[in-house]
């Protein structure tokens, strides 16, 4: 009972890996926005399996259909239903999964919760679930860009111990998309790709960090005390599969500084209140302050590896399991559009909430 996200710009996702398809209903979208499948498909293509040599090879075109909520190419203000059919549903490849819980997967916990699970392809726990988020996020990004002048970006900041050098204030989308790992630091990108290829050949997997950026957010978005902007961003990111950590601005590193070192001094600049540093990450007291918002999200290494591992069977006996078939060595390149989508969904929701209460 928690497949809905957002208060005013609200999405509800549905779908299992091997059912009829996956999709999303977007409720609360402002009316009269130009919208067609061509606004959505590019982000789905960035999320798609099989897009490069370093991601899972599942072959699906993930073609989106808009089923409702638009008329003559514009949004109606009514729910926008979008759907992607499942086509590559090879249950047989997952045979052993029917009777064994994959270590560090959600197989066991879903069974513990519901007393039933759709084992083919992981069912609802499959990353296919994020298709609905990315489709909805594409609309959110468009609204933010066109109606609020806000730009959303994400990129791979770190793969295992390889750290990229990127400036959140300046990084460009084209630089992110210039290589298959989606890291705008081309030197680090090469190393990352080599690492992922090596790990893939070993039948293993590797995790890393994605950095998310929102530029142009005006001062005033965020709803204390509970729906602080960073709290909602944190929740959004930690709701993505395989995430283990979130930090904004100075993050964990900020605890090494004193208050005097950590404070961002205010100065007037171009008639606006600005800060001369940005350890706050663009948010103070849960509300945007007009500076660039940036944060980092840790993704653990993908759980499915091509090695024999200890586990337990569905009849509760000790056993072992070895991953077979398709294998995703690193989720990060495909997770970039997911992080962008969730960022956009949080921000557009807060934009509307702010407008509701404060009238602008």
């Amino acid at each position: 009972m928690a497949n809905t996200f957002g208060h005013l710009f609200r999405i509800t996702t549905w779908g299992e890996s091997h059912g009829g398809g996956v999709g999303v209903v977007v409720d609360g979208c402002p009316p009269r926005i130009k919208l067609s499948e061509t606004d959505i498909q590019p982000d789905l293509d960035r999320r798609r399996p099989g897009q490069s040599s370093i991601v899972t090879p599942r072959k699906e075109s993930d073609t989106v259909q808009i089923l409702s909520g638009t008329f003559e190419g514009k949004t109606l203000g009514t729910p926008i239903s979008m759907m992607v059919k499942n086509t590559d549903a090879r249950s047989e490849a997952y045979g052993e999964m029917a009777t064994k819980f994959r270590p560090s997967h959600a197989d066991y916990t879903y069974f513990a919760k519901f007393g039933i699970r759709a084992w083919p392809g992981g069912g609802r726990t499959s990353a296919r679930e994020t298709i609905g988020r990315v489709a909805a996020g594409a609309i959110a990004k468009k609204i933010l860009r066109e109606q609020f002048g806000v730009e959303i970006l994400a990129y791979v900041k770190q793969v295992q111990n390889i750290v990229a050098d990127v400036v959140p204030d300046k990084v460009k989308f084209n630089a992110v998309e210039s290589n298959i790992v989606r890291c705008p630091d081309s030197v680090a990108a090469k190393k990352m790709i080599s690492l992922i290829e090596r790990v893939r050949s070993q039948g293993d997997s590797v995790g890393g960090i994605i950095e998310g950026v929102a530029r142009g957010v005006p001062p005033g978005w965020g709803e204390p005390v509970f729906d602080r902007l960073e709290a909602d961003l944190g929740k959004a990111m930690l709701s993505l599969p395989a995430t283990k950590a979130f930090e904004i601005g100075s993050g964990f590193g900020g605890v090494l500084l004193t208050g005097l070192q950590h404070n961002d001094p205010f100065r007037m600049k171009g008639g606006k209140v600005r800060t001369t540093t940005n350890l706050s990450g663009g948010i103070q007291g849960g509300i945007s302050n007009g500076e660039t918002i940036f944060f980092r999200v840790a993704f653990k290494p993908v759980a499915t590896v091509m090695h024999e591992q200890q586990t337990v069977s569905t009849d509760f006996k000790n056993t072992t399991l070895k991953g077979r078939g398709r294998h995703d060595p690193c989720v990060l390149p495909r997770a970039v559009p997911m992080v962008e989508a969730m960022t956009a969904l949080v921000l557009v929701d807060h934009a509307l909430r702010h407008r509701a209460q404060c009238g602008r």
Copy 2:
């Protein structure tokens, strides 16, 4: 418009630093639970200013009153309203705050959002707001303990660069409470206290990390895809003032491992499905797996320091501001009960949500 937290066990907090008081309404509490002020006050005392030499000296007894929702010492199932009156409301000490925005405080962002702010004591942005959370959290902890066998604990894990050695599975409440910094590693605790005292004498402040622990959570709590248990814990923690980061289980450190290294093998133990390691931090796929849940929260150093700093005035001119009066060198000892409270609020809400859908 976001002063309510939780879906079924739902709290609404209210109050400014210098208004009539602060409080909370708890809605959805199960009926027939023994409850009086003596269940609440101890946690408020742990949160209270002036409790030791290393926290802010504001003098308030923070005495709680239960105004509704109980009858003859038991909960009625109706809303429980609790209130703490404000007594130490010395507006004059904050005079300069009326006309200048404190750096890295919420002063400016509240003004940017609302076009008005209650400057005495920071108004709604004061840590006094957390009184309502801690009071509600005391009820949540009691329900978890008595009805679900779940124990909640938190403690100071790190102050600046001093890291404590603590085992989440074994740490005891008495060890946490054995010193004023609330760190169960007594060697580290001494160093932490010295550090905070030194920083205080310099008119500066210092941050750190609190670790939160939940033991005894049964498998099955958590509501994917959006209200994953770690997502709701992350949001809860990041909704606390001064937090910048959250990680669960292996957290950011987990990205250095491969999938094979990171996976927690399942083994049967005492008739139960258990894991032999716990890098997952007790949650897989957003649902508890029966292992100890543990996570870390970073608190930045308190923004108010006794030094001259650059800032901007409320008539938008560059100026400087030097902190005066009371000064909190380290929020961590008082934040421990806040982390416990938010953990308990998330868990009791998920316990009820799980019972609603799955019937147990």
Copy 3:
């Protein structure tokens, strides 16, 4: 931004009359319930246009597809997405609607709200929108019947001035379905059918009253103070198209009695607390008391009539409009399953909410 209904058993509907289709996502359904399209289709067939000579002749089979949320014939506890494709989308029949607002339709108000409207077939304001509700309601009725022993029924109580004689405690489903107007009083039913046929031949339409009944609801469901059971039932009914009034138990008629006359005396019966009369309609203080719940809903006559009427054009000039093409003389027979669906959705949601807080 209000296409979601329910708190724990939560539905989100989508779809316009002439878009790709209409559908619903059901979130929060308990797991391990047997479910297939054959559980859903019968109620859709009762809602379908063209089912008899006295309803609108639009020809659509309204065949439902379950796209997610089940596995091997059982619910997973994950979202159940259901869809019906639009097939009879004859926009041309509605040509004049593009440029004129139909009197007492939602054409003008949708335009006033959103600045855009999907004029073919009324878009989102079409009764096709209720397909999602009826499909979701079929699941809700099944859960109530199988897990809680609750039976839901509705029937036509009145058409214009023809009033049926029905006893809510005893009426049977078969009696309701024994004639095309869905009135279990066969004498009244004949008169109603004649009346509707006459009105249809005059190109006019007629309204009436549907009575809804829930039998077997245990004492204790309902969530005061705002989500009283009758308040949620009232909202549910008034959210159906063309409804203007709702009353429960004694309703408007109860104001003619004194307190002494209106009170339902309690008596023990079969070891249970029962009432000897039921003017309360099964609900006291917003909570079910174990007696039969019954209520009435007024549906105004359908707005589209085959007569010339005064109206205004989309360029804001006075004009006239005459209905053409398909014409629904009376919505009541098709509204019966809608009333049942909304009743079931309210009750199952309250069953789960009660279980969450009170543990049974």
Copy 4:
């Protein structure tokens, strides 16, 4: 778990009849609105017991305190907490209520739901609960009046079989307040007062109908498909104690007309789209159309009467109960401000929701 009402302008009420007090937290109020207790108290005085000879004589001044959310006489945008202390808490007068369930009261259903009840004064089921609603409604009315030009009114339309003649478009507040029964038709008012006095002297009670009016609502408020404006108004009214029915515009009477008779023709008037009749009651398709909104709410006769009645004891034996002490012959005069409050709460919430999605 349902003591919160509204989505964006959201109130949470708390309090039992004989606890520490009753109150409300208002979240989401726009900032910078002038507000003090003098804006609230007049409506509480209109709701107060003991205000005239025809209402319950309980003696309480019901003096409201604003505890938070304002600063220097203006709203902050933070939660507004308001409280009224309980002073006339004579438990002894209700002694027999401890062991017997009053017929047609919520005594039994609360016990059935929660397994516990606060019997003195009815606890949470007391009409004192509405104090919080009326206080919050006073703020909502002020916002509607000052920021949106909307005027809210309610009045007694019928007591038992005495029906007043009132024109919703023209009735004035002063006429409503010109007599103690709050009926603007002075001839009917006199008869109503006589009737209530007679019924009171007989130890009995009487119900009736209140009509609610909203004038000046612009076209476009309302959130189909579920949060239609009339659905939310209906829910709001049916959440008030003792209500049994709701109808808007033509209501139940509308079923006697044909479509041709019932339709409201559109005509241009003063450059605006208007209707020449208003059987719709100002709402079409769930959205306001710019005409006056008006509706009727039925209140059953108060359950407590000074006569011996059959009932059941708390140890489940047949018994009798005779009302003693204070006795409210007619709730209608005091319910008028309750109806106004709930109307205003619904409308201001919808005003903000409309602004959020549609930007104006």
